[in-house]
Amino acid sequence: MATARLPQSDETHNAGYGPQRAVRQFFHRPMNVVGVVLTVGILTLGLGARWIAPYQPDAANFSLSLALPSIHHWLGTDALGRDVLSRIIYGTNSSLLASFGAVLLAFVGGSVIGLVAGYWHNSLIDEILMRIMDAILVLPPLVLAVALTFVLGPGLANAVVAIAVIFSPQFARVVRSKVLTVRTLPFVEAARAAGSGHGRILFRHVLPSVVQPAIALATLNIGSAIIVQASLAYLGLGLQPPNPSWGFMVSSNINYLSQAPWLIFGPSIAIALSVFGITLVGQGLQGQ
């Protein structure tokens, strides 16, 4: 599965050291600032939905069906007279929860698999684990996620598991290849000579030195996870109605495309801005 990588113009920036300098350099690039502002804004909307949203997400008002955007309803209302803006704000929760949760799960699961496979390099367990990871990579990611959510049953938690499965092979591969270079280094040998057990060597000594590329991969994957989550929700396999999710808001209002385009493009813009912001931050962090 490809990670969301925004195309970049090829500016190079000065190498530096020290946390303060790194932070200053990070904020020196305008696109990084844009990314941070968008990400913080979206996180605020998601966490503070209850206080920020002007209406309850499922408060129907049939006398105001499909109202045009106005002062009272900035993005208009849907067929049931529900405030679109409030539904988008509440929808932030499920979208962010699912994508961050799925990437975290893939990060942990994939890293453990990569650690084990790399540490017992060329063993049967390495062979089995990595063959399975390869086979998952062959399956078209969204198709696998759709099939998994289907057999697990539609719902947010299952969508998170499905997305985690399609993202984990990347983590396993990155971590494994890093473990292969670390496992023969003197400090690992020393730990082994000192009589540390496999578990202690793996998690205490090997893990800290291989985790960094996996973290970089995670920040870049959150954007793709939002897209996959929205696509699952679009097919009705994500968070179940009446709870609002961006993808399902789009698909359930598809018949109003000509009549009330804000029903479609409101949540679409929310998806685009959150993917854009989070991916910019991920790329900025990776560029450090």
Binding site: M1, L139, V143, S268, V275
Partner: protein
């Protein structure tokens, strides 16, 4: 090279087998009885038992697996529980639509991505470079269904270029009604063209600054000829290989796009199969898509071996 190709083909057999195993375990290792999921929780134990027998769920798992694999080898994927037709027959009907849609998407992606990508690489920071940056950003941040709806809105309601009836899909082949494939193809092409442009841009930048291009210029060959005859041709191979590797992503897009435009292809088969809880159909269609990806990867590798004689294959 023949040896390389044979080895490559043999190597993809275990992958295919493993993919088949994963697709099998998708349905069978997941908690809960598929029969209960299909019939609903209120179903009587009798009905569940009947369906269990019908789906051979009463046999031990290893038996089910061996039987399923044996049937698969003979090209039998079971039959649809809704349409009462063999899954293979449904796949044979829907495969051409998906292949046609994918080809339209690939051709359009090439038509958009190749010229813009080459110009962007040849003249960095020009208007073409900016255009490629904009288009590929759009492809990254917008899910396929948003791009599709944006195009429908733009082309039918705002510009009135197309009538909704004109792009409505009636299950015909691409040469019968090419218009029905235009917007869905374009939607999928945007997602592919973006990364393609960026790959080409990088390749062209590398080739354009190479020694032999400089020699060409020194020999007085015109800029245009240098660009299209040497730079472009050398950048094309990695670009085509890249498109081949994106097939998995394309298949994911196909599932959503076929659903939006009601194109009766394999993606639609999966989605309707899911809503009908038609396990054999979903299983068969997912497997067929995965096999398609394996075969195309094989073809891309083979093509690469034929086109590029520089690389020696162990």
């Amino acid at each position: 090279m023949v040896q390389y190709l044979v080895r490559r083909i043999l190597l993809s057999i275990p992958t295919a087998l493993l993919v088949a195993t994963i697709v099998f375990s998708l349905v069978h290792l997941v908690p809960g009885n598929p029969a209960v999921v299909i019939l609903g929780v209120q179903a009587s134990p009798q009905d569940v038992r009947t369906l269990d027998q019908q789906l051979h769920l009463n046999l031990p798992l290893w038996r089910q697996y061996i039987d399923w694999l044996g049937q698969l080898m003979q090209g039998n994927l079971g039959s649809s529980m809704i349409f009462k037709e063999p899954v293979t027959a449904l796949l044979v009907q829907s495969l051409p639509r998906t292949v046609e849609l994918s080809l339209v998407a690939l051709v359009l992606a090439g038509a958009i991505g190749i010229p813009i990508g080459v110009l962007a690489g040849y003249r960095p920071h020009s208007i073409w470079d900016r255009l490629s940056l904009g288009l590929s950003t759009m492809g990254v941040v917008l899910p396929g269904f948003v791009i599709a709806l944006l195009f429908i809105y733009l082309f039918t309601y705002k510009l009135h270029w197309l009538a909704i009836a004109g792009i409505a899909h009636t299950g015909t082949a691409v040469w019968v009604n090419p218009l029905a494939y235009s917007v869905p193809g374009l939607t999928l092409a945007i997602g592919l063209a973006g990364p393609l442009m960026r790959v080409l841009r990088g390749e062209v930048m590398a080739v354009a600054s190479s020694d032999y291009t400089r020699t060409m210029r020194m020999m007085g060959i015109s800029e245009r000829r240098v660009l299209w005859k040497w730079v472009f041709k050398n950048a094309l191979i990695p670009a085509i290989t890249f498109l081949g590797t994106q097939l998995g992503l394309l298949m994911g897009g196909v599932v959503i796009i076929e659903n939006i435009f009601s194109i009766p292809g394999m993606g639609n088969l999966i989605v309707t199969g899911i809503f009908n809880k038609d396990y054999p159909v979903v299983q068969g269609a997912v497997l067929a898509m995965a096999f398609m990806v394996i075969v195309v990867n094989l073809l891309v590798d083979a093509m690469y071996a034929v086109i590029d004689p520089r690389i020696s294959y162990r």
